[in-house]
């Protein structure tokens, strides 16, 4: 349902707000839902990456990166989706366990930054909708 005040809310500049508002017909609550669902799934999935790499499950790791990759895009963070695509390409080449762990370590701050962005924006929207 579209709230009248939705048009006043400004998403942070990192987000492709035009895409998000178009996708959800300016429904802020729906955007917040997508953020929360995506945040949960991305958090759960990315938490498994190190274990998969340590155990040599590189093809499963690649599959799981592929699975959640579009969630960044659904949150309006296309730059993060592109970065996940690059990660997927990297793991598709079946790198060694050591190289995989080094790559994941390098990506970790970026993943945490993305998750934090989504979480903060979801909180901001929810605060706004309470007003």
């Amino acid at each position: 349902m579209q709230a009248i005040s939705d048009t006043v809310f400004q998403l942070s500049s990192q987000f492709d707000s035009m895409f998000l508002f178009d996708m959800h017909d300016n429904d802020l609550a729906a955007i917040s839902d997508i953020f929360l669902t995506s945040h949960q799934q991305l958090s759960e999935e990315t938490a498994k990456y190190a274990w998969l790499a340590e155990n040599g499950e590189i093809s499963e790791l690649k599959r799981r990166v592929h699975l959640v990759k579009p969630l960044w895009g659904y949150c309006g963070l296309s730059e993060f989706q592109t970065r996940f695509q690059e990660m997927e390409n990297f793991f598709s080449a079946n790198p060694s366990i050591n190289d995989s762990l080094i790559r994941l370590e390098a990506e970790n701050p970026f993943i945490l930054e993305g998750l934090e962005l989504i979480k903060q924006e979801a909180n901001k929207i929810q605060e706004f909708l309470k007003q």
Partner: protein
């Protein structure tokens, strides 16, 4: 009249957005949503739909294997986050290829490319039978009644359960005219109805007790079209 559709997509956020777009369009009625090919197959083998929104990379079998197993040809819109499948998409004659995430506008463009329902149904009806010339008349044969077609030089013999009809034609010419979803050329002298195979042993397949040779050149095509569990 709305297209009946199913969504086959393992990412719930993507499936939810797609469902929302379908409702917004007013043109698509989503009758089922499945997270894998394996979940979708039982539904699609018992229910006919006009359209499938299909992800490709999913747990288990990929989206194309679902299309391989379909007994009929609904229209297909692929939804994927990779563009590498464009060539396969072309091979499977899909209507459009949407890269996730996509806007409503892009989704609406894909819907515009769908064949109108009546046209699609007429096409399916046309592909469900053949008319063959024999004894100075045109005889209608439903695909489902034809067991196989055998070459006899400049003539071919259509074999059904209860009759054999000879017609002036060639296997080569027929290959281009019959429904490729149902029939398959297995040898320079034989076209068979894939749904009528009872068993396959080495380079021979059996249809209603008839032994039909499978040539080396066609063996891989035949094997790729049967479901081995």
């Amino acid at each position: 009249m709305r297209y009946t559709a199913v969504i086959v997509e393992d990412l719930s956020v993507a499936a939810d957005v797609l469902q929302k777009y379908c409702i917004k369009s007013g043109k698509v009625n989503v009758v089922g949503s499945f997270k894998s090919t394996e979940e979708a197959i039982p539904y699609l083998s018992e229910n006919s739909v006009d359209l499938i929104f299909l992800d490709i990379e999913m747990p288990g079998a990929n989206g194309f294997s679902l299309l391989d197993q379909m007994q009929y040809q609904p229209q297909v819109i692929l939804t994927t986050s990779k563009t590498e499948y464009a060539f396969d998409a072309f091979e499977y004659s899909v209507t459009d290829f949407l890269r996730k995430p996509f806007s409503y506008q892009r989704f609406a463009q894909a819907l515009e490319k769908l064949k109108p329902l009546n046209e699609k149904k007429e096409e399916q009806e046309e592909m469900s039978h053949v008319f063959i010339k024999s004894d100075g008349k045109l005889i209608r044969l439903n695909n489902d009644d034809i067991l196989y077609i055998e070459s006899m030089g400049d003539y071919v013999k259509f074999i059904t359960n209860d009759k054999k009809i000879i017609s002036h034609n060639t296997i080569k010419a027929l290959t281009e005219k019959i429904n490729p979803d149902v029939f398959c050329k297995v040898h320079r002298s034989y076209i068979i109805n894939m749904n009528k195979i009872s068993d396959i042993r080495d380079n021979t397949l059996y249809i209603a007790n008839a032994k039909i040779p499978v040539s080396k050149a066609n063996r891989s095509t035949v094997m790729s079209r049967i479901k081995i569990v």
